[in-house]
Amino acid sequence: MSIDPSYYLALAGLMFAIGVVGTLTRRNAIVIFMFIELMLNAVNLIFVTFARMWGNVDGQVLVFFVLVVAAAEAVVGLAIILVIARRRETSNVDDISMLKW
């Protein structure tokens, strides 16, 4: 028994949309970053689905690249957020607004 791939694509699209909305509306830098990770994982699901539809492994290999990049990005990103949080005791992006226009 197999499930129609379009369900996976719909789920991935929904995840990506949640990620976009969350990134734009949330105020905590760490939560924003989690929503960005959600977007990346939505794309991973799309890759795997298309890999199955095409019957080749390209898409599955790409997922590993994305995972590695996301991990590297998380290391640097969390470090940046941590430096700010130590200095200002906040990770709310509304409070971090010295640079304008």
């Binding site: 794309v43 790409l62 700010i84």
Partner: protein, 493 residues
């Protein structure tokens, strides 16, 4: 079936490998010595790395093939970009060595990260597969996130690093979505493809209409990701903040290198492999180009901080280069390459002067701090004048020639109205460059300012870029010829 080992030719990525190796050497060597010794030999090691990289890039000039399972394009286009990027990186390292000494933040990571960032940018120029573009983009972006926040103790530095990081990660997930959709439409992420392996260009040449709807959607998302890196409106929001908070040498490096790398991928992706789809993506890019030129020029006028002003100017320049991209002819491609190379040199020189005049911790970066700069530092003010005139596109400087070729290409392609907007916005842009000159020459300096120490490496960078700006403004034909050769070799173009 006997096992046949795949043929591996590394000539296509030898310049990147030289940089990565020297980055590791710098990082390891940096842990063994004290900062006083590092001050001298780490920039020297980085210089050797860039030298080796340029050597490897020059030695394959004229070759034209796909390597490493068609993942890497070895062609004149990539080579031209790589040599330019290595020069940008070299100037950044020299400038940075004086900057770090002055501000007391000498750490080997600076050189290592610049080397790795340049390696990523170079890979971007020779990527022949969407996933390689993505990896290259992330390689240099992650290095730049750290470099932007390099002034750890500065509040502006931290804030700009965080904004750059969050928006950068956000935009690269859109780019990735574009890759996923392109893969879904084509079954491969290769930019070219041949009869055995599918690829974007091959797919478009065989099937005119079927499934291209998904591919058009994918194209839109790819534009978001690359538009962010080249700082095109409406994906420019990070630019002024990141440029202001980053150390000035890094700001110059981002303006020159990040833009060149982004445009290299954009040119290869759109003017070569998605060429058949040009009627779909061209209106989008024209809209972005017009919005970028107008918004960049108009918003720059009201800036009081020189780094922010140059940030908006760099946005406007992204729009000017985009007019070369939408021309989709050979002149457009070679013109864009020439423009990016000369713009990079001028903007690096400009930020070199800003970095020197800024003083310790860059406390003098507002426009009012430039009052009477000519009377205090005639040579530096003169050089800054030259760079600003080049950015404004005044004749006898390289910026004028650059504008001439990209606008000429757009007229040739029949987009005269875009060129008219480009000219009008150049006139607006000239206003804010001249404003800096007025402040420097026609106002009296404030009394009792301590003199600013000028490092030897930094002044070398200013002198070299100033000379290059003049020479390329007078004798442009060798570089334009090289850019035209680069277009000729452009695989699939």
């Amino acid at each position: 079936m006997p096992f046949v080992p795949p043929e591996i030719r590394l000539a296509g990525i030898a310049p990147e490998m030289a940089l990565v190796v020297s980055a590791f050497v710098v990082l390891i060597a940096g842990t063994f010595a004290r900062s006083r010794v590092n001050r001298v030999y780490l920039p020297a090691l980085a210089t050797i790395g860039f030298g080796a990289s340029i050597y490897f890039a020059v030695s394959v000039w004229g070759e034209n093939e796909l390597q490493l399972s068609d993942m890497i394009a070895l062609d004149g286009f990539a080579t031209f970009c790589k040599i330019s990027l290595a020069v940008f990186g070299l100037l950044t390292v020299w400038l940075g060595s004086d900057y770090l000494t002055r501000d007391g933040i000498e750490e080997p990571e600076f050189y290592g990260l610049v080397l790795l960032a340049v390696a990523g940018m170079m890979l971007m120029a020779s990527a022949a597969d969407l996933i390689v573009i993505f990896l290259a983009l992330e390689t240099f972006s992650i290095a730049l996130y750290v470099l932007v926040g390099y002034r750890r103790r500065s509040i502006e530095g931290q804030e700009s690093a965080m904004k750059y990081f969050l928006l950068g990660a956000f935009s690269s997930s859109f780019f990735l979505l574009g890759i996923a959709l392109a893969y879904g439409a084509v079954g491969s992420t290769n930019l070219y493809g041949n009869s055995e392996n599918p690829g974007l260009a091959q797919f478009l040449s065989e099937s005119a209409s079927e499934a291209t709807g998904v591919l058009v959607l994918a194209t839109g998302f790819l534009v978001v990701g690359l538009g962010f890196k080249i700082a095109a409106v409406p994906f420019h929001m990070w630019t002024p903040d990141a440029y202001q908070g980053a150390p000035s040498p890094i700001t110059g490096f981002m303006a020159a290198g990040s833009k060149l790398a982004g445009f290299a991928a954009l040119l290869r992706l759109f003017d070569a492999s998605l060429f058949a789809l040009r009627w779909e993506w061209r209106p989008l890019l024209i809209g972005i180009a017009v919005a970028t030129m107008i918004a960049g020029s108009v918003l720059a006028v009201v800036q009081e901080d020189i780094k922010r002003m140059l940030a908006y100017s760099s946005i406007a320049h992204a729009g000017f280069v985009l007019t070369g991209v939408i021309a989709t002819n050979d002149r457009g491609i070679s013109g864009s390459l020439f423009y990016l190379a000369t713009y990079g040199i001028a903007v690096l020189g400009g930020f070199a002067v800003v970095s020197i005049l800024g003083g310790k911790d860059e406390h003098r970066v507002r426009l009012v701090d430039y009052k009477g700069a000519f009377y205090e530092h005639p040579a530096l003010a003169g050089a800054l004048t030259l760079f600003l005139l080049s950015l404004a596109g005044v004749p006898v400087t390289s910026g004028f020639v650059g504008k001439l070729v990209v606008f000429g290409a757009a007229i040739e392609a029949g987009y005269s109205w875009v060129v008219v907007i480009g000219m009008l916005t150049s006139a607006i842009a000239a206003f804010f460059y001249l404003r800096v000159l007025v402040v420097m020459y026609m106002q009296e300096p404030d009394e009792s300012r301590p003199p600013i120490p000028v490092g030897r490496a930094a002044s070398t960078v200013v002198a070299l870029t100033a000379v290059a700006t003049i020479i390329l403004g007078l004798f442009w034909s060798p570089l334009i010829g090289a850019a035209e050769d680069a277009t000729f070799f452009f695989v699939g173009g």
